[in-house]
């Protein structure tokens, strides 16, 4: 083997790490933060508008845009007795941690934004939250759910996504109802596969915590993690198949859901209950895989448009439909609500003083579009919101009705999957 080629083969991974993921940057601008009221309130944010999470980043952007548009249509935020317009300085973090941190630094120290809204996905939020804390700037996010982010007990970090452990717990409670109704075997065997991130670890922890002490009802027969944004899941799915589990519970992000489900279908696999955590009902998955291949998949989500036909939820859904001519998913709802929460705190503080706004966020207890109807950031949970999830299930007609909890369900839910033969 040629010496030079060998050196290059070893150096290539390093060179590739230097390869930027981004398209070209965007111009900045902004004002410094002080206690005098500015002419404009500048809020900074990054989102993954390109890269692996670009689709979801685009959804969050729709939510942010809607909230800013709504606030400015009223003349801006009501601060200190006058209306002040609010502007969003949004940059593309390209779904990479290093870029997310670098751009957060730029927003704070170059663009001089007053406050920060969060990006999407646990890994990016985790990376940015430290930067916000160092600079003592309130950072409100609707894109990071892992409890690990909030265990750092940061003062300036506020999260709207309830913990993934709760998601797993809610899913297991629905499964339990089905088992008690005699629709699932007892004990039921479960395969748990999870992305190797703090998000995935929380999911695994949630399932394990529920199963613990219920050995006669459930048995985990496979507990396996995988790399985020992997291309090939054939070996992992082979392990799932070999486990002969009744139930497959996976925690994945959208790109991995589509890739894994395609390989799952072509491998001829079928489980009595199949869930990809919070993913399952996305339109693009049905488009990519065919409706038949996503039917009966369960997902537990932070919001569903069917949650309410009145109050704040209806207002949000109406606004969204008027602007985008389609129904919102939980991603847009979280984006919208995250911005609205920050606006509320600024208005309550009556100034753009970061400490005053932080204090209002910490003490917040307001009406929300999220399940449960009330939103707060409990200090003992690291200022991560806690509220119930809703479980939805894809049906062959392309809908995803809520099947759990019973008080908000609009369909009974189906188990076991009738498409499974034998």
């Amino acid at each position: 083997m040629d010496q030079r080629f060998r050196r290059i083969a070893l150096a290539a991974p390093v060179l590739l790490l230097l390869l930027p993921n981004s398209s070209w940057g965007q111009p900045g601008g902004g004002k410094t933060s002080d206690k005098k009221l500015p002419d404009k309130i500048l809020i900074g944010a990054t989102l993954p508008l390109t890269g692996a999470e670009s689709r979801i980043g685009g959804f969050y952007k729709e939510g942010y845009d809607l909230a800013f548009e709504e606030a400015n249509r009223a003349g801006g935020l009501q601060v200190g007795g006058k209306r002040i317009p609010v502007a969003l300085q949004l940059l593309d973090d390209t779904t990479t941690q290093a870029t997310a941190v670098q751009l957060a630094d730029r927003l704070i120290n170059v663009d001089k934004v007053h406050f920060l809204l969060g990006t999407y996905s646990t890994t990016l939020v985790q990376a940015q939250s430290g930067m916000a804390e160092q600079n003592r700037i309130p950072y409100v996010n609707g894109g990071g759910a892992a409890t690990e982010i909030y265990q750092q007990k940061y003062k300036y970090l506020f999260g709207l996504l309830a913990p993934v452990e709760l998601l797993a717990d809610t899913m297991m409670r629905w499964i339990d109802v089905q088992q008690k109704a005699g629709k699932l075997p007892k004990p039921a065997t479960i395969a748990v596969v999870w992305e190797n991130t703090s998000h995935g670890k929380d999911f695994r922890k949630g399932v394990a915590a529920y199963v613990k002490g219920r050995a006669s009802d459930y048995k985990i027969v496979l507990d396996e993690s995988f790399e985020l944004n992997a291309k090939d899941f054939s070996a992992l799915l082979n392990a799932v198949k070999a486990s002969k589990a009744d139930i497959l519970l996976a925690d994945v992000h959208l790109p991995d859901y589509i890739t894994m489900q395609r390989q799952y279908v072509t491998a001829g696999m079928c489980h009595k209950v199949l869930s990809y955590g919070a993913r399952g009902s996305e339109k693009q998955a049905a488009e990519a895989l065919g409706q038949k291949n996503v039917s009966y998949i369960l997902s537990a989500v932070w919001w569903n448009a069917q949650l309410g036909s009145k109050g704040l939820t209806k207002k949000f859904v109406d606004l969204f439909q008027a602007k985008y001519h389609r129904m919102p998913e939980w991603y847009q709802a979280l984006g919208y609500e995250t911005a609205r929460v920050l606006f509320t705190a600024i208005e309550q503080a009556g100034s753009v003083d970061r400490e005053a706004v932080r204090a209002k966020l910490a003490a917040m207890n307001i009406e929300t579009i999220l399940p449960g109807g009330k939103l707060s950031f409990p200090a003992d949970k690291g200022q991560q919101a806690h509220y119930p999830f809703v479980v939805q299930q894809n049906t062959p007609d392309g809908k995803s009705p809520i099947v759990f909890p019973a008080d908000v369900a609009n369909a009974p839910g189906v188990a076991p999957n009738p498409d499974c033969k034998g």
Partner: protein, 291 residues
């Protein structure tokens, strides 16, 4: 037993794609002594070409293979004539060619961002989710077709290099370009053809990869790393060695799940790369003439 067979079939089918990805890189380096870092960019471009032809014109991705190969070949020739041929040859041009082709890759990637955004795309055909039974295990029809095309490509490349005048000239230039000039071989033209063929192979690999996996403008980066592993394992200048090395890499990645967590399996190939470089630096199947 059934699980072992399933894993083995998965490895074999994956190896077909890996081998197609690596042929072009090995060929260009073997003949021109240039590490074509733009290989990853062409893999990405091949996937997008297939996607465009399917989504806009309704052409089946496998039927569009000749067109994608021809366009990629043309791009390779153009790239050679306009940029690569002006670089110093051999070790003297090493850094320049690396930087130049890395730059071309960046341009291609950003062009893809501008044209297609960073959203993941899939080539969604009617048979994308179809499966067939092979030895009692369910296998994706797409993967079987990709494997078949990879095998045909390997055979075609092998025949080209061993049975045709151009192929023999390519091999001769790889051995000693100066002597080739003495016997009347137009060395520059052979370089150009080789660069074109290598680029076409990258385009084909990209299209085949795009029929199996979702892709975005970052597609090709991880694939290029796997190509490095395969070329080092297989040794330079051996098409059959490349295929065998692809099978070794795929098998190691797939079977690793029996021993280690799935999230670590992607790293196994690179551990293998380091081990081979330490203990068998000529690769498993390399030919001395190109070493």
């Amino acid at each position: 037993m059934a699980r072992g067979l399933d894993l083995l079939l998965s490895a074999v089918l994956l190896a077909g794609l890996y081998a197609t990805m690596a042929y072009g890189l090995g060929l260009i380096y073997g003949v021109l002594r240039i590490v074509n870092l733009n290989h990853g960019g062409m893999i990405m471009a091949g996937a997008y070409m297939g996607w465009l032809l399917h989504s806009r014109l309704g052409i089946d991705p496998y039927l569009s293979l000749p067109l994608v190969a021809a366009v990629s070949f043309g791009f390779g020739v153009l790239l050679y004539r306009t940029l690569v041929m002006h670089l110093p040859r051999g070790a003297a041009g090493g850094v320049q060619s690396l930087l130049l082709l890395f730059g071309v890759w960046l341009v291609l990637r950003n062009a893809a961002y501008l044209m297609f955004t960073g959203n993941d795309q899939v080539i969604q055909t009617e048979y994308a989710n179809k499966a067939v039974m092979v030895l009692g295990t369910s296998q994706s029809l797409n993967r079987l077709v990709v494997f078949g095309i990879a095998a045909v490509t390997l055979l075609g490349l092998h025949l080209l290099l061993t049975r045709t005048y151009v192929g023999k000239a390519i091999r001769a230039v790889a051995q000693n370009a100066d002597s080739c000039t003495l016997v009347g071989i137009h060395v520059e033209r052979i370089y150009m053809l080789t660069f074109g063929i290598g680029t076409a192979l990258a385009g084909i690999a990209g299209l085949l990869g795009g029929t199996i996996f979702a892709f975005n403008p970052t597609f090709g980066a991880v694939e290029l790393l796997k190509c490095f592993v395969i070329v080092v394992l297989g040794g330079l200048g051996s098409a059959l060695g490349t295929a065998a090395a692809a099978l070794v890499l795929a098998a190691v990645e797939v079977f690793a799940i029996l021993l280690i967590p799935a999230y670590l399996t992607a790293a196994v190939g690179f551990v293998l790369l380091v081990l081979v470089l330490i203990f068998r630096p000529g690769g498993f199947f390399g030919q001395r003439v190109l070493g």
